[in-house]
Amino acid sequence: MKLKDILFVAITAVLFGIVYLGAVYMGAALTGILTPMGLGIYGYEPFYGIWFLAAVFTTYVLQKPGVGIIAEMLAALLEVLMGNFFGPIIFISGFIQGLGSEIGFAVFRYKKYSLQSTMLAATGCTVLSFIWTGIRSQYWTLSPMVVLGIFVIRLASALIICGFGCKLLADGLAKAGVLKGYALGLGQMTLEEE
């Protein structure tokens, strides 16, 4: 990766970090509301797609293998710098989510960058992160319906926020002409010239 790409990834990670911070507040509020019903565990799930944004968005724009993992690791590093209370363990979560996104894009051998591939990447992130949080918070001790609910909400959130959102956002940016220096913007430019 060139320095330009790294800075692009790092700055998007910072931006999504801000969005993520907002999501944490909303998630905490929602957790508070749901707690008396015993459903507080769902509080953060509707916003889970935001965690995957960095990986899917940057891979979609830069269109190179390995970008997703690097993006999530840099995002994790930035979160540690901003003082996330989970500390260094989020490097692991970041790596796992990045890997999930990589799997999604690898299905098309990093050749195809469309809504299908972003959706697949979002699904990959969801499945892997679900396994990881499952191990960390012992999902098997909870009743299966609650756990299934977690998975469904998380998947829906990932598909909407990450699958659709990334594509919309990136295409919008490419149309605005700011991505000329990156693979996505280049591809769209040559299309228009033809």
């Binding site: 990766m1 060139k2 320095l3 330009k4 790294i6 800075l7 692009f8 990834v9 790092a10 700055i11 998007t12 990670a13 910072v14 931006l15 801000i18 944490v24 905490a28 957790t31 508070g32 749901l34 707690t35 008396p36 019903m37 015993g38 459903l39 507080g40 565990i41 509080g43 690097i70 840099l74 590093l77 930035l78 540690v80 710098l81 003082g83 996330n84 209370f85 989970f86 500390g87 260094p88 363990i89 490097f91 692991i92 191990i135 960390r136 918070s137 012992q138 098997w140 001790t141 909870l142 009743s143 299966p144 609650v146 956002l169 919008g172 940016l173 605005a176 700011v178 991505l179 220096g181």
Partner: protein, 245 residues
């Protein structure tokens, strides 16, 4: 705590977190919470007010997961032989609710233990030091390290840019709520421009991500860093095997 090498401290806490992910003991969780609080309060310069502030969301999460555990503990988590031997309904209900309470305590203390470890790192580590130490001890390439630092220090500018974008929309008479996407998009367009500009600026100043370079400060690993790693990990491993529940 501040004097420890950030990278090795990070590794120790990461390894502890990993071991903790696969061990299920309430006592161990309690022990970790206690130790990290003691280290924070007596062996670091962390301020009490900021400590409380950072722990509030963790506490909220722990309480909520406690209630989830209470109400939705899976039936299969209960040892059936303990229940089936007796006919008494009272005993059955009691053992079921005991398991629920135990599971709830276990789940919530786990969250707090993870948070304790994380806060122990976050409150005692300077971000810049951590990146430097990643560069020197973990062989992180300077282009990644300085790229991340550049982006991190752009944070105030990005906030300002966002406020400006919101203001620009208001001036034009377009109502702006905290959830409207248009200013976010405007901000994104500008900041993506920056990433190119910052890269150009760094390269024009002679920054070369690959070659050898000299550093103003070099972080080093001392003997007590290895001690910290050895002590924390061995304590946790022995705790996993020795503590029964």
């Amino acid at each position: 705590m501040e004097k420890l090498n950030p990278f090795l401290k990070g590794v120790s806490i990461l390894v502890c977190g990993l071991i903790l992910s696969f061990s299920y003991s309430v006592l161990l969780n309690g022990g970790i919470i206690a130790v990290s609080l003691i280290l924070l309060l007596f062996f670091s310069k962390a301020r009490l007010t900021s400590l409380v502030k950072i722990l509030v969301p963790a506490f909220v999460a722990a309480v909520s997961i406690f209630f989830t555990g209470m109400m939705f503990t899976s039936g299969s988590a209960i040892a059936p032989e303990a229940v089936s031997k007796v006919e008494s309904l009272n005993f059955e209900v009691m053992s079921y609710s005991m398991t629920s309470v135990y599971n709830a305590i276990q789940l919530s203390s786990r969250i707090l233990a993870f948070a304790g470890l994380g806060v122990l790192f976050a409150m005692t580590t300077d971000g810049e030091e951590f990146v430097k130490s990643l560069m020197h001890q973990c062989r992180l390439k300077p282009k990644y390290a300085y790229g991340v630092l550049a982006a991190f220090h752009l944070l105030p500018c990005i906030r300002e840019e966002f406020a400006k974008a919101q203001m620009a929309f208001r001036v034009r008479g377009i109502p702006v709520t905290p959830f409207s996407m248009k200013p976010v998009f405007a901000m994104l367009v500008n900041t993506v421009h920056w990433s190119e500009h910052v890269a150009m600026a760094m390269e024009s100043k002679g920054f070369d991500g690959e070659g050898a370079r000299t550093y103003y400060t070099v972080t080093v690993i001392r003997w007590y860093d290895w001690c910290f790693l050895a002590v924390t990990v061995s304590l946790l491993v022995s705790g996993t095997f020795l503590l029964p529940f």
